[in-house]
Subunit: 343 residues, 2 copies
């Protein structure tokens, strides 16, 4: 893999990750762009002990532009996009409308296909493998930034989930704080370690899932995909390495090799459930950068809000106001349905 | 107000709350109904230290039935609904597809208008006043049930937020546990009390909002409506009594009288923002039934996902996976816009 970092017209960084080692990336971004917006304001919510970012500049970001105006496609002579080159394998660049930037974090966009109409599920496994290397690279690099406390790599898929750009892409957030969900996990993991046998909470849970097998969806020598016992969403899947590591950057090449086909398989099983593209969020849960590294356990959590072909689960009053979840699909039933999909 | 409790065809309870003291409620539910479904299963999520309900029977519940088949309209000779009578003021009944039931809680539906096409915003203030009394009644009664640890009264409004029945209605959940959001608030409030001046966290925050006035939307002698400093949603409003009380059942008649016009005003300001019905969740945050009563502080939290006429805020990767919120509207700007609405 060849890595070429260039500077965009407004000073943002863009990095090409090419599968061919002889790729040349000399095209210059010649657009006239306004300077990047000011960083979001971080506000502390005393009622919940959590940070909220207020990013008023994001209201102006584009909403579902047509293919001809897609900012994530390669550039053409007629239309210059965020990516100066006329083709790419995987490209990463700083978000033009970031939620976190400057001294308080960083937001990046990851385009994993130049094809506007592609989807993650259709990528060759070799491209998924490249993408895993890219996410490991970004995790290591963002972890080294002074303002970043946690790195989150994720993909939002489908207009049902609020996607504002159709072109297949992921995002990377370098948060200036340890996120609320991760803090809750760390609190539980610390209690488990201190009161119990000194073991890792997620490792113990994964061992139990592997031993029971009831909710396992797919597995290989290095990874396990399963529906968690207390799944919140109709279709929710964890993909975790069998060895405890804090983040993507800590995986071996062998583990990365084995992770790509499993991730691809789970994505295809998900879309095969109703023979419909499923709206989903797929996000890599990683340990914080500076604290509690040994309590963390890397895993990808994919969940879909689709509970039936014509029906979505919405986060209504109970979930969104009280954090009290009701799941209409039994996790064992979800796992069996995912296993039964013909690939 | 006259209160008449009757039994539905499948054994569920239904209560008429009539504004006229001479109302007679003798009509009997003569439908043939299957027995109520089994209670949901409560599963403990060790990774987050939270309970999740699995209620597989809810998949079959009706989705947006037409007016002619609405189960919340009064009954007619042609179509018998959940409400046997041919008219009502406010009626409450046990949910036919409950998330919590039996030994582990209770779910109720609250119909606050017999008019299928009405909305909360259009109710006369006298009906909002009746509704407040009904919610106080339900809070007291559900709090007395052995399996209930917290009572939550809420309204989901709009298909954008996942409403499955158009007929205007609210819901009441009697949870068998203290909900995650309330637990987080209580943890913060306990720390504030123990490390600080011994005062109530919410009371101190409310006093600061009243003193600054920058984010206050409306107020009267007994209540204050404001946008919180660290609002998560584009338009989010708290309505709180100026006196600290744990729940609706603890309000005086005078406070209930003063609360109705303010709640109504805020609902009208919200719909006036873009001259469009706003999707929203409006939920009464109340102290737990048995514990930490003195740390609680009753307030109604209303939030809308609409950030502009054609745009909704979705809970995508950052919010739904990491609990890390990004709000595109500054709370001061939201408060000013709400104040500026012509009523």
């Amino acid at each position: 893999m060849k890595r070429t970092s260039v500077t965009m017209a407004d000073g943002r960084e863009l990095i090409y990750f090419d599968e061919r080692d002889d790729a040349v990336r000399a095209t210059v971004d010649q657009r006239e762009l306004p300077p990047p917006p000011p960083p979001a304001q971080l506000r502390f919510d005393a009622l919940t002990d959590e940070w909220v970012a207020v990013a008023a500049h994001r209201q102006g970001r584009p909403l579902l532009p047509s293919t001809a105006e897609c900012p994530l496609c390669p550039s053409t002579e007629q239309f210059q996009t965020e990516v100066p080159a006329d083709d790419y394998d995987v490209v990463v660049f700083e978000n033009r409308f970031p939620s976190f930037s400057g001294e308080s974090g960083r937001c990046e966009v990851v385009c994993f296909s130049p094809d506007h109409d592609a989807s993650f599920r259709e990528l060759p496994v070799s491209r998924v493998r490249t993408l895993l290397s890219v996410l490991a690279d970004r995790t290591a690099e963002l972890s080294a930034l002074g303002g970043v406390e946690q790195v989150f790599c994720f993909e939002n898929r489908g207009v049902e989930i609020g996607v504002t750009l159709h072109h297949p892409h992921g995002q990377i957030y370098g948060y200036p704080y340890v996120t609320p969900v991760t803090r809750r996990y760390l609190d539980a993991a610390r209690r488990h370690r201190d009161l119990g046998t000194g073991t890792n909470l997620y490792a113990d849970l994964l061992a139990a899932e592997r031993s029971s097998g009831e909710r396992v969806v797919a597995a290989n020598e290095f990874w396990t995909a399963f529906v968690p016992y207390a799944a919140r969403w109709p279709y929710e899947i964890h993909i975790a390495p069998n060895r405890q590591v804090p983040d993507l950057a800590a995986l071996t090449e062998t583990e990365l090799d084995a992770g790509a086909p499993l991730w691809s398989e789970v994505a295809r099983r998900l879309d095969g459930l109703f023979d419909l593209p499923m709206p989903y969020v797929a996000g890599w849960h990683q340990a914080p950068v500076r604290t509690d590294r040994e309590l963390g356990y890397l895993h990808l959590r994919i969940f879909s809000s689709r509970r039936a072909p014509g029906k979505l689960k919405y986060l209504a009053g109970s979930e969104s106001s009280m954090g009290a979840w009701v799941n209409d699909i039994a996790p064992e039933q979800a796992a069996a349905a995912l296993r039964a999909v013909n690939l």
